[in-house]
Amino acid sequence: MTSPSPTPILTLDRVSKHFAGHTAVDELSLSVPRGVIYGLLGPNGAGKTTTIRMIMNILEPDGGAVEVFGEPDGGRAHSERIGYLPEERGLYRKMRVLDVLVFLGEMKGIDRRRARQQAEGWLERLGLGQWRLRRVDDLSKGMQQKVQFISTVLHDPDLLILDEPFSGLDPVNAQVMKDTVLELRSRGKTILFSTHIMEQAEKLCEQLCIIARGRKLVDGALSDIKRTRSGHHLVIGFDGSLGGAAQVFADKELVSKVDNYGQYAELELAAGADPQQILQRLVTSGARLSKFELQEPSLNKIFIDLVGPEAVRA
């Protein structure tokens, strides 16, 4: 993948939002480079949606500044260049599919004729061509999801902001969504999406920001984040005999955390511990190993370590 261009398409500078009784977003700063897929990750209730709503001017920040396309006013002024898919999605149920899309295109700021052309093109492309004059009500839920997605991209935006885009999608539509996102990315568009599903983020994101309780825990390129956290993560596969593995894993001098599956274990090395020493002790204790690998941690692992198991369960 190409390296991101230096001028960010979106920056947040110490943005805060308080609601009655609690702080939803607390001095959050981040910057999204042009032309990347950027993940805004966090457990439920971390402040992802609030952050996105502030970017889109749906909510006004109590403090801090949002800059979109290098300008201090938020997303609303640039709606023609931004495609926004909120987490809670809906359409006018009684309108015809094509009319809804043309109207939503007009809302973004493109004229009716272009909106119609684009909408018809996308409907054909996603296999909904013959449904365009039907009422939204008549469509299945999966088809409605496609229409919602079309409404996000039909004005050919430079920046896509997708709030939990995969939630509630059936596998087929999830695939369509993923393919389209990648295709847009290859055409130089920037995609910011929020999710709490790390497996997805790990496959798609180049850059990311993890937040919890409204605060940023880490941000940057996924590869950098992984690199700085590698060398501590050890994956061990057993070939039948475990030997004295249990005692070795219990040694706090060597291992700080263990995730033991019996024939497979993931270890977190204690500070200053030498993986070679663990290998030696395992072998001498009589364990037969099929795998012994120092790994980059999965994003899920990083996420859980950072956020804490409590927050994930929430």
């Binding site: 006018y92 009319d99 700021g109 409404s151």
Partner: protein
């Protein structure tokens, strides 16, 4: 601006595309026709069949019976008084074969006392009072030796030509026309403001419950969205009026032919085809738009603060009640359009949209009162819309329980 226009167009096009719009547009005039017809029927009370129980020894009973028959609204039959007559007639009335019976005796001529028994004594009294008086007067005069022809000439009815002096010019408007015009303007204003206000509310609610509002306010300001919505629904209402106006004109010109006032007996004349002047029409439209803007802003706020249809139905009650009260007070206004109550109601912005046009139609009004009333109304629209827009802005993104008054105040205060 382009976006507001798109919102207006969507509201307009989607609404007039529905079957209900056209049913309303076509049935509306029909419904008003039915109301008109029923009002006539109520005023007239229909033809009553009664029996005159004649206990007189003179032709007075006969004269009364003839006089009653002549009104057209009563069919009278004379029966000589006798034992058991009252009882059998009472049975007839109970069996609904007879509306009632009038008992006259010789004493009636001098004392003026007669007795009527019937199923609907109010309707009976309304229909009987005048003809019976007429007959008795004639008999008394004749007894006093006055020539029946002199009596007839003396009793020549007065044809009172009424002309309303209004706005410095004399119009051809009769008292009855003024009344029915005021009455209909009141009904139409009340119905239309309520109906289209609730339309705005459900439109807001639809966008909120489908969450589509989030996409919308990411590309235009909440106020612009609310404005577009109100104007779009307002345009539908004006369109509806146009259809009604054209249809009504058509129906009334058809009707005016065969049904001249002389054929419509008695109180039916209350509902005459009113003469609608340009000024009246302008005033009607001005107050309709004012009332609609004022109320639909409030209805929009109600829609925004509710999460379900049910909640909205409850929350709209205070708003709807203000309208209902204005409507109900219309009847007091019609009685005395220049009372202190009437003046107050036409200045208070929440009742002015109904009260002022009603007063205007019922009697003449000083120009400064209209100016003052419109001024207050416009200022209130600005103020109420400002508050409603702030509630709307916060409300459309809120889920969960409906806010109480204190929370609403906080919503209005948030920057």
């Amino acid at each position: 601006m382009h976006k507001i226009w798109a919102v207006i167009r969507r509201e307009f096009v989607e609404r007039i595309r529905t079957r209900w719009f056209w049913i309303g547009a076509l049935l509306g005039p029909l419904l008003f026709g039915v109301i008109l017809f029923l009002s006539m029927q109520l005023g007239q009370g229909g033809v009553q069949t009664i029996v005159v129980v004649d206990g007189t020894t003179t032709p007075v009973g006969e004269r009364i019976t003839q006089q009653l028959d002549r009104t057209g609204s009563v069919r009278a039959v004379r029966i000589p008084a006798g034992s058991g007559v009252i009882d059998s007639l009472t049975t007839e009335v109970r069996a609904k074969r007879l509306d009632g019976f009038l008992v006259v005796t010789d004493a009636t001529i001098d004392s003026g006392n007669a007795e009527y028994r019937g199923s609907n004594v109010f309707a009976g009294k309304t229909a009987l009072q005048h003809p019976v008086e007429e007959a008795l007067t004639a008999v008394r005069l004749e007894r006093a030796g006055v020539d029946p022809r002199v009596v007839a000439r003396a009793r020549m009815p007065v044809r009172l030509e009424t002309q309303k002096i209004s706005r410095g010019e004399t119009t051809q408007e009769s008292a009855e026309q003024s009344f029915s015009l005021a009455y209909f303007m009141g009904i139409i204003l009340y119905t239309a403001i309520l109906l289209y206000g609730i339309n705005v509310m459900s439109s807001v609610l639809e966008e909120k419950t489908t969450h589509i509002v989030e996409v919308l306010v990411s590309s235009l300001r909440p106020f612009e969205l609310m404005l577009g919505k109100v104007l779009g629904v307002g345009a539908v209402s004006i369109f509806q009026f146009l259809i009604w106006g054209v249809a009504g004109r058509f129906l009334l010109t058809r009707r005016a032919g065969p049904l001249t006032p002389s054929e419509v007996g008695g109180s039916a004349e209350v509902f005459q085809v009113p003469h609608v002047s340009g000024a009246t029409f302008a005033l009607f439209i001005a107050y309709f738009l004012g009332g609609f803007l004022l109320y639909s802003a409030m209805f929009a706020a109600v829609g925004a603060m509710s999460s379900t249809e049910q909640e909205a139905r409850q929350a709209q009650q205070p708003v709807a009640w203000m309208l209902v009260l204005s409507f109900v007070s219309m009847f007091a206004l019609l009685n005395d359009p220049n009372s202190a109550l009437a003046v107050t109601l036409s200045l208070v912005p929440f009742s002015a949209p109904i009260a002022m046009p009603v007063r205007w139609a019922a009697g003449s009004l000083p120009g400064y009162e209209i100016g003052l009333s419109l001024g207050i109304l416009v200022m209130s629209i600005v103020g109420v819309t400002w508050i409603a827009a702030r509630i709307y802005r916060v409300g459309i993104l809120m889920t969960g329980k409906r806010p109480n008054l204190r929370e609403l105040v906080r919503w209005v205060r948030t920057v």
